[in-house]
C-alpha cells in the first residue's frame, strides 16, 4: 500500500503564497494577543484556583451566587465530565503572603454556609503568590529562547552552515507564534503544561525539519550538477510519504490525548495538535524556502550550499 506514488509537487514555487499566509496568521495572532492579552494560568499570574468535587451534580449558578459574595469576579466553570461533579473556581485576587490560604478558605466557608445541601467532598487547590508567578514567566521565555538557540547551534554544526540552523530556528519560532495565536483565539490559558507543550512542539518541528535537511544533504552530495531549488523540491517529495505517515500518526495520537486525556491535559494536547500541524507545514513552507533564499542570494547557489 502506498499513499502517493512518486510525488512531484513544486513546493518551492508555491512557497511565497504560504509565507504570506503564515505572515497573516502571525500578525493576526499578535494583534489578538496585544488586544486581548495572553491568558496566564494561575501558576503564572498568581492567585487561587480550586477544583471542588461535590457530592452530587453541582448547580453552577448557585455556586456562582454564593462565591460572588466573598470574591466577586471569580471564574466558575464545570470541570471535566459532568458526571464527575467537579467545578473549577479561580480567583485572580492576589493571595496575601502572610496567609496564602485566605481566599480559598473564604470560598469553602461561604459554600458550606449558603450551598450546604451539596457538600464539597474533596478540594484540590493551586495557590500561587505573586513572586513565584513572575519568576516562572521569566523562566519560560528563557527556556524557549535558549532551547531554540542550542538546537540552532547543533544543526549549524551538523550541516556546516549557519543558514540551516537559522532556518530550523525560524521555523520553530514561527510555530510558537502561530500556536500562541491559536491558544489566544480559543481562549486557552498559558499554564506550565502548555509551556511544556510549546517547547515540545519546537522540538518536534525541528525534528521534522532535520529529516528533510538530511535528505537534502544526501542529495547535494549525490547530484553535484543540479541547481539547488530542484534538489530541495525533490528532497521534500522523497520524504513526503514519511512526513504524512509519521506526522499523521502523531497527530492522531495527540488528538486522542485531546479527546480522552481529561481536563488537566486539555491545554497541553490542544497545543500539541496545533503544533504537529504547524510543525509539518513550517518545514516545507518556511525552513526549506529560507535555505533556498539564503543560498539563492549567492550567485553560485547549490555550490555554496554544498560547500557549507
Amino acid at each position: 500500500m502506498e499513499i502517493i506514488k512518486n510525488p512531484h509537487f513544486d513546493f518551492l514555487g508555491k512557497a511565497r503564497y504560504f509565507i504570506a499566509l503564515s505572515a497573516l496568521f502571525i500578525l493576526g495572532g499578535l494583534a489578538l494577543m496585544l488586544t486581548h492579552g495572553l491568558a496566564y494560568g494561575v501558576e503564572f499570574s498568581g492567585g487561587t484556583q480550586l477544583i471542588l468535587h461535590f457530592q452530587s451534580l453541582p448547580a453552577v449558578d448557585q455556586i456562582r451566587a454564593a462565591i460572588d459574595r466573598t470574591s466577586p469576579g471569580a471564574v466558575i466553570q464545570s470541570y471535566g465530565e459532568p458526571s464527575q461533579n467537579r467545578v473549577l473556581v479561580r480567583v485572580a485576587q492576589e493571595a496575601p503572603e502572610s496567609d496564602l490560604d485566605a481566599p480559598a478558605r473564604a470560598i469553602r466557608e461561604e459554600l458550606a454556609r449558603s450551598y450546604g445541601q451539596n457538600p464539597v467532598l474533596e478540594s484540590s487547590s493551586e495557590i500561587v503568590g505573586p513572586i513565584v508567578g513572575a519568576e516562572l514567566r521569566q523562566k519560560a521565555v528563557y527556556l524557549t529562547v535558549l532551547g531554540l538557540l542550542a538546537q540552532l547551534i547543533y544543526i549549524a554544526a551538523r550541516f556546516r552552515g549557519g543558514a540551516w540552523g537559522v532556518a530550523a530556528a525560524i521555523a520553530g519560532l514561527h510555530d510558537i507564534l502561530i500556536s500562541l495565536g491559536f491558544l489566544t483565539l480559543f481562549q486557552y490559558e498559558i499554564t506550565l503544561n502548555v509551556i511544556a507543550a510549546l517547547l515540545t512542539l519546537v522540538g518536534y518541528s525541528v525534528n521534522d525539519t532535520v529529516v528533510v535537511f538530511d535528505r537534502v544533504r544526501e542529495n547535494l552530495a549525490k547530484r553535484r550538477k543540479e541547481p539547488l531549488p530542484s534538489i530541495l523540491n525533490d528532497s521534500m517529495n522523497q520524504t513526503l510519504t514519511r512526513t504524512l505517515i509519521s506526522n499523521g500518526t502523531t497527530l492522531l495520537a495527540v488528538v486522542g490525548l485531546y479527546l480522552f486525556g481529561g481536563p488537566v491535559l486539555r491545554g497541553f494536547s490542544f497545543t500539541m495538535v496545533i503544533g504537529v500541524l504547524v510543525g509539518t507545514y513550517s518545514t516545507v513552507f518556511i525552513a526549506v524556502p529560507f535555505v533556498n533564499w539564503w543560498y539563492g542570494r549567492q550567485a553560485t547557489g547549490a555550490k555554496a550550499a554544498r560547500a557549507a
Partner: protein, 548 residues
C-alpha cells in the same frame, strides 16, 4: 532506587559491564550474540517494572507523581532577613557584654540594618580600646570602622552574609526533613529551589490534610525558658517601674493570662535558661487531671545549667516562651532536673503537633508560603484513568495502522514500540523518577517519535526496493542511510528535552524525564532491535519478497 544501586561501586560495575556487553554485541555480526543481549536487556526491564502499578495492596514499581496520586506541593520562601537580624543582634549583645566587662563607657549599641550595627557615645579616651575589642571579637565576617566622634560601626562582609544565607536555607531544609519525618510521609521531596536559592520546595505525596501539614511545616518553634521579672496587664504598667523603657538585658513578651482572652505582658530576662537547642526529646503526655501536656528532657550540659539556675531562683516565675509568646509562667517550686513538662491550654492535637516540631528543632528563620498545590486523591485517580485511556487509544490506532500499512514489517514496528515502552517504564521504575500526567503525554510523544523512526526506515527500504535492490541489500542500505537522520533528529530532541529537565520545574521536569529516556530507548528499540528482527526473520537464505 534499589539498594544494590545505591552503592556507587556496584552501580559503576553494572554500567561498565552493560556498556562493554553492548559494544561487544554491536561489533559482532553474529545474530546469536545480539539475540542474547537484546533479550536479556528486555528481560531485565520486564523484571524491573513488574508489577508497574499498585494492585491488591502490592505497591507498584512506578512512582506516581503528585498529580496522579494526590498530595501537597508547597514552595516556601525563607525570610533570610530574620537570620541576619538574629546574627547581628547576637553581635550587638556580645559587644555590650564586652564593653561592660572591659569597663568601657558607651551610650548605646544598636543594630542599624540587618547586616550592620553601631556603637555610639564611646568615652573619647577608650575609642581605640573599643575598636580593638571589636576587631578582636569579629575578626572574620565583620568590617569595623571608625565613623566620627566616639562612634564605631561594624558591617557584615558580603562573603559572610552569603555564607549565613546558605547556612540558613540548609538548616531550614534539615529541620523540615525532621518535621516531615515526624509526619510519617513516604517519599517526601524537600529541596532548595528558585532563582535566588532562598526558596524551599516541599512535596508530600499522599498527604491530604493541608492545614495540619502547614502548621507543622512553617511553625518557627523557637522555644526558650526565661526568668520573669514582673508581669502586668498592659505594656505601660509593666514598664512604669523602669521609667518607661525596656532595660538592655530584658525584653517584653506578651502571653495569655489565667483568664482566657486577657493578655498579660511579661518583662523577661533576655537570656534564656534553656532554649529549644537544649532539648533531647519531646513527646505528648497527660497531667494529673488528664489534660494534655508536653514532656521534654534536656541534654546533659543543659541539665546542669538548668538545675543550678532553678535552685538559685526558687519561688520565681519561669516563663515558657514559644515564638515570642508566653505559653505559661509557672513558679519554680524546687530544683529541676532533666525531665520537665510544659502545661498550657492545649488540645491533644495541638500538644501532639507541638511536641513534633519541638523535637525536630526550630527553624532558623520565618518561612513564607509562596505557592501551594493540593491534589485530591480522586482527581488523581480520574487523571490516571484519562491518561491510560488516551495512551491506549493512541497506541492501538498506531498498531493497527502500522500492521495494515506495512504488513509483516509493521509487526516488527509494533515489537519495537513495545520494547521502547518497556525500557522507558523500566528506567522510570529503576531510577525512582515520578510518572506525572505530562509524563504520560511524554510517553505518547515518545511513541510518536518511535513510529517516525520505523517509518523512516521502512520508507527507505521501499525506495531501495524500487531501485531494484535485493531484499538484503535494501534492508542493510535502508538502516544505514537512515542512521544519520535518526541521530540528528534524536540529538536535537534530546537537546530540547535536556533544557526542559535542567531548568524546568514540576510538571515540565516530569515531561522532560520521560522524553529523554524515551528517545534514548527509541534508538535502541526502533533501530537496533528492529534491524535485528529483520535479519533474524529473513535468515541467511535468499528472499525474493519482503512483506512491507
Amino acid at each position: 532506587m534499589p539498594p544494590a544501586l545505591q552503592n556507587p561501586v556496584t552501580l559503576w560495575l553494572l554500567l561498565t559491564a552493560a556498556l562493554v556487553g553492548l559494544v561487544y554485541a554491536f561489533m559482532r555480526e553474529d545474530l546469536r550474540w545480539r539475540a542474547i543481549l537484546y533479550g536479556s536487556v528486555l528481560l531485565a526491564c520486564g523484571v524491573a517494572v513488574w508489577p508497574p502499578f499498585e494492585r491488591n495492596g502490592v505497591p507498584g514499581k512506578i512512582h506516581l507523581g503528585l498529580d496522579l496520586r494526590g498530595g501537597i506541593h508547597l514552595v516556601l520562601q525563607v525570610v533570610l532577613e530574620d537570620a541576619l537580624n538574629a546574627t547581628t543582634d547576637d553581635a550587638v549583645n556580645t559587644t555590650r557584654d564586652q564593653a561592660a566587662r572591659k569597663g568601657i563607657q558607651v551610650a548605646s549599641v544598636s543594630r542599624t540594618s540587618p547586616t550592620a550595627f553601631s556603637v555610639d557615645g564611646i568615652e573619647p579616651a577608650r575609642v581605640k580600646d573599643m575598636r580593638d575589642v571589636l576587631r578582636d571579637f569579629f575578626r572574620t565576617g565583620w568590617e569595623v570602622r571608625e565613623a566620627g566622634e566616639g562612634r564605631l560601626t561594624a558591617q557584615m562582609t558580603e562573603l559572610y552574609e552569603r555564607q549565613l544565607k546558605e547556612q540558613t536555607v540548609q538548616e531550614a531544609i534539615r529541620t523540615l526533613e525532621r518535621r516531615v519525618n515526624a509526619l510519617g510521609v513516604a517519599e517526601p521531596v524537600i529541596a532548595a529551589t528558585g532563582n535566588r536559592g532562598d526558596q524551599i520546595l516541599v512535596q508530600l505525596p499522599g498527604v491530604t490534610d493541608i492545614d495540619q501539614a502547614k502548621r507543622i511545616i512553617s511553625r518557627t518553634a523557637q522555644l526558650s525558658l526565661k526568668l520573669v521579672e514582673t508581669s502586668a496587664a498592659s505594656r505601660e504598667t509593666l514598664l512604669s517601674g523602669t521609667g518607661g523603657r525596656v532595660p538592655d538585658n530584658m525584653e517584653v513578651v506578651p502571653g495569655s493570662g489565667s483568664t482566657p482572652g486577657e493578655p498579660v505582658y511579661y518583662l523577661l530576662r533576655r537570656e534564656g535558661l534553656i532554649t529549644g537547642r537544649d532539648l533531647k526529646s519531646a513527646r505528648v503526655g497527660v497531667d494529673e487531671s488528664n489534660r494534655p501536656q508536653i514532656n521534654f528532657s534536656l541534654n546533659a550540659t543543659a541539665t546542669d545549667k538548668f538545675s543550678r539556675e532553678t535552685a538559685r531562683n526558687i519561688n520565681r516565675q519561669l516563663a515558657i516562651v514559644l515564638d515570642d509568646n508566653v505559653i505559661s509562667a509557672p513558679v519554680i517550686q524546687s530544683r529541676l532536673g532533666a525531665d520537665n513538662r510544659i502545661t498550657g491550654r492545649f488540645s491533644t492535637q495541638e500538644a501532639d503537633e507541638l511536641a513534633k516540631v519541638l523535637k525536630a528543632g526550630a527553624l532558623p528563620a520565618t518561612l513564607k508560603y509562596q505557592q501551594q498545590l493540593t491534589v485530591g486523591p480522586s482527581l488523581g485517580r480520574d487523571s490516571i484513568h484519562s491518561g491510560v485511556v488516551a495512551s491506549v487509544a493512541g497506541l492501538s490506532f498506531v498498531v493497527i495502522f502500522m500492521v495494515v500499512y506495512y504488513k509483516l514489517s509493521g509487526v516488527n514496528a509494533v515489537v519495537a514500540l513495545t520494547a521502547n515502552l518497556l525500557i522507558l517504564m523500566a528506567v522510570l521504575a529503576y531510577s525512582g523518577a515520578n510518572l506525572t500526567l505530562p509524563g504520560i503525554a511524554g510517553v505518547i510523544l515518545t511513541m510518536g517519535v518511535g513510529v517516525d523512526t520505523n517509518v523512516l526506515v521502512f520508507e527507505r527500504i521501499r525506495e531501495e526496493l524500487h531501485h531494484g535492490k535485493t531484499v538484503h541489500a535494501a534492508i542493510t542500505n535502508g538502516f544505514d542511510r537512515v542512521l544519520t537522520t535518526i541521530i540528528d533528529t534524536h540529538a536535537t530532541a534530546i537537546i530540547a528535552a535536556l533544557f526542559l529537565f535542567t531548568f524546568g520545574t514540576g510538571p515540565i521536569k516530569g515531561f522532560a524525564v520521560t522524553l529523554v529516556i524515551g528517545l534514548v530507548a527509541n534508538v535502541f528499540a526502533s533501530f537496533f532491535v528492529s534491524k535485528f528482527l529483520f535479519e533474524w526473520v529473513l535468515g541467511k537464505g535468499h528472499v525474493e519478497q519482503l512483506s512491507i
